[in-house]
Symmetry: C2
Subunit: 386 residues, 2 copies
């Protein structure tokens, strides 16, 4: 008898735990954001096969809704089966070949991460650096292109989650196009919070995350690739270093003209949840969603200034969906965040990178962007600062 | 005023769709498998932050339960934030450096995929090849090691999802250890269906998937790395090509002795679901779970043989949780699978790779492994073959 057919003695004692139950939370940090109960309900539909006819219809609808939200007609538009950082790798690793010169614009943690991912793709990385809290400086980008006429790709973060800064994507894309570079754009925190206009700007490889203004649980990364980008990937000299992320393979499942075929087993239930989250945005309408974020920002800024908080970011570049604020002297960082979480059930985020321990990140993303939530947080902060 | 602050005219009409609702399905294919309602219910708990204190407790419990199910004491045991193929990349890309010679044993689609992933990691890949439907031949593995004494890693698939074959993991691991090679093992379809004994066998980098015998929705890939593997990764000359998968970085979130810190935003709700799915296995007990799979296999094989199906795999190497069967002359492949799905709500899987259109894959994985489900499928097949 073979070893596997007997029951071997077990190495470990079985560890018994209770079922998990979430504490009640209002998510007003840098993500994940609040998820609507309908999204959670649809996500918990019974699991079906990744090639079920009902699934294939749902996938087509998902793609249509993503195109609307990305403001693109790109055929190659789908959610990568992993978090935003995997979407970043999907964009970088498909577009960039070893030895390519790539310009990455850094003004926070996520620009830095993109540079690191790009280096790991074997590229020669050139960077522009801007102070954290400032947008990417178009003049530095122009200068980088004139100093390095062989730059093949430019990557930048539209909305820096570490600083709450919005960069001028239209302008940056224009500069890249004048220099015939492909554009890789991070819209993790911008998508559905502020206008993202993939086609108007001409961005080539764009990724986002499910857990910010799309208000879906974390774990999926919507991406969109221009036709030129898809052609570029098809003509690569070397295969994409990730098999899972290789556009030319994953398209058999997500973007086939004929029968869809198996590539990997897609995260069926997570996709159901994303379908419902996108559906809610489409129903509300993008312009209304953007306005809702702006209204919340206005009320939140007024309340925070009154309590003695100071804004890191100038009004002109300040994200509606994510504020970065220095604390007044009567509020301590970690103990106050704990109080907010434990006594008020409200999560906000600490500073990241060079801002760790120095500021707070307060999000009003997606479903969390409601005036009543702003009032709740301001009210809770008042009890703490007293 | 900046362009982003105005509401630009929209490129696309909003596409309106209804909320998604799953058709009723019994999943008896090659995965995803049936998910228990409790798992779906826990998965739809409200979303909380990836660094919420409640989340950190849940993550520790998850790791403990994974250690029991993997039969290991490995500290570095956690679910990768993506599907099984990403788990495969996590194991290969962390262990293998460009230029390493790696032996991959191929006896089906997934061994072939592992070879491709390993090539893309820059390795020199040596393979053994066995007929599809046969296990990996230990003699060929011994021969490969003697012909290539510089092999640094050996990779193989414990249970081939494309053929329903179980290979002798204990023996293969023994050969690799005698040749001082690291062992990369695919347990996507074996884990919790048949004994997987990571520590007893001495496997170094092992991955699985949430959607087979763990009976969880697809989208997570549990992995475990031996201490020697972790040390090996720490001493790499070149960084891991994927930032997301780099063990030395992701461990700050999943395996820190001190405060857990942000690496990427983990798929919070999917992890809640996995927690419940693992909890159910722990409560039932591994040995009982294995026996349940064996009992179902016995009944299913008897029923299928009676209907004129023929088994691809000899009994000795036949997976309890996944049968590969050639069709009797009175049953057509695609139309019959459609009938099963549409009239009976039962999903089974088509052949994969060289078996496409030639056989069926019938799964009794995890929650689906119930005698009543076996009877349901056999009953449905009787109406079709009549």
């Amino acid at each position: 008898m073979r070893a596997e057919q007997t029951s071997p003695s077990l190495v470990n004692e079985p560890p018994y735990f209770n079922s998990f139950s979430s504490p009640n939370r209002l998510l007003m940090g840098a993500g994940p954001s609040q998820v609507h109960p309908d999204v959670l309900k649809v996500m918990s539909n019974i699991t079906i096969g990744h090639l079920d006819p009902a699934m294939l219809v749902m996938m087509d609808e998902l793609k249509d809704m993503l195109r609307y939200i990305f403001q693109t007609n790109n055929s190659m538009t789908f959610p990568v089966s992993g978090p935003g950082s995997l979407g970043m790798e999907a964009c970088v690793n498909n577009m960039v070949e070893p030895g390519d010169k790539v310009l990455i614009c850094i003004n926070g943690v996520f620009g830095g991460r993109m540079a690191e991912v790009t280096r790991r793709a074997g590229a020669e990385v050139v960077t522009t650096e801007d102070d954290w809290g400032k947008p990417v400086d178009p003049d530095k980008v122009r200068k980088a292109f004139s100093e390095h006429p062989d730059i093949k790709h430019m990557g930048f973060v539209h909305a820096e989650t570490s600083t709450g800064v919005l960069s001028d994507a239209a302008n940056l894309c224009q500069i890249a196009k004048e220099n015939k570079a492909f554009i890789i754009m991070d819209t993790v925190t911008s998508l559905a919070g502020v206008p993202v206009q993939v086609d108007v700007w001409g961005a080539d490889a764009v990724y986002s995350g499910s857990q910010k203004c799309l208000s879906c649980p974390p774990g999926l990364s919507p991406v969109t690739f221009s036709d030129a980008a898809v052609k570029h990937v098809e003509n690569r000299k070397q295969p994409v270093q990730s098999w899972l992320l290789d556009l030319s393979l994953v398209s058999a499942y997500w973007n086939s003209d004929g029968a869809r075929t198996y590539h990997h087993t897609a995260p069926v239930n997570s996709l159901m949840g994303l379908h419902e989250a996108l559906r809610r945005i489409v129903e509300e309408g993008l312009e209304t969603v953007w306005a809702r974020h702006r209204d919340c920002q206005q009320r939140m800024v007024a309340g925070l200034l009154e309590l003695g908080f100071e804004m890191l970011v100038d009004e002109e570049f300040r994200l509606p969906e994510l504020l970065t604020v220095f604390l007044p002297p009567d509020i301590e960082d970690a103990p106050s965040r704990t109080l907010l979480l434990e006594d008020h059930g409200i999560e906000i985020s600490a500073g990241l990178g060079q801002f760790a321990g120095k500021l707070w990140r307060i999000g009003m993303m997606g479903e969390a962007a409601q005036l009543e939530n702003v009032d709740k947080l301001i009210g809770a902060l008042k009890t703490i600062s007293r």
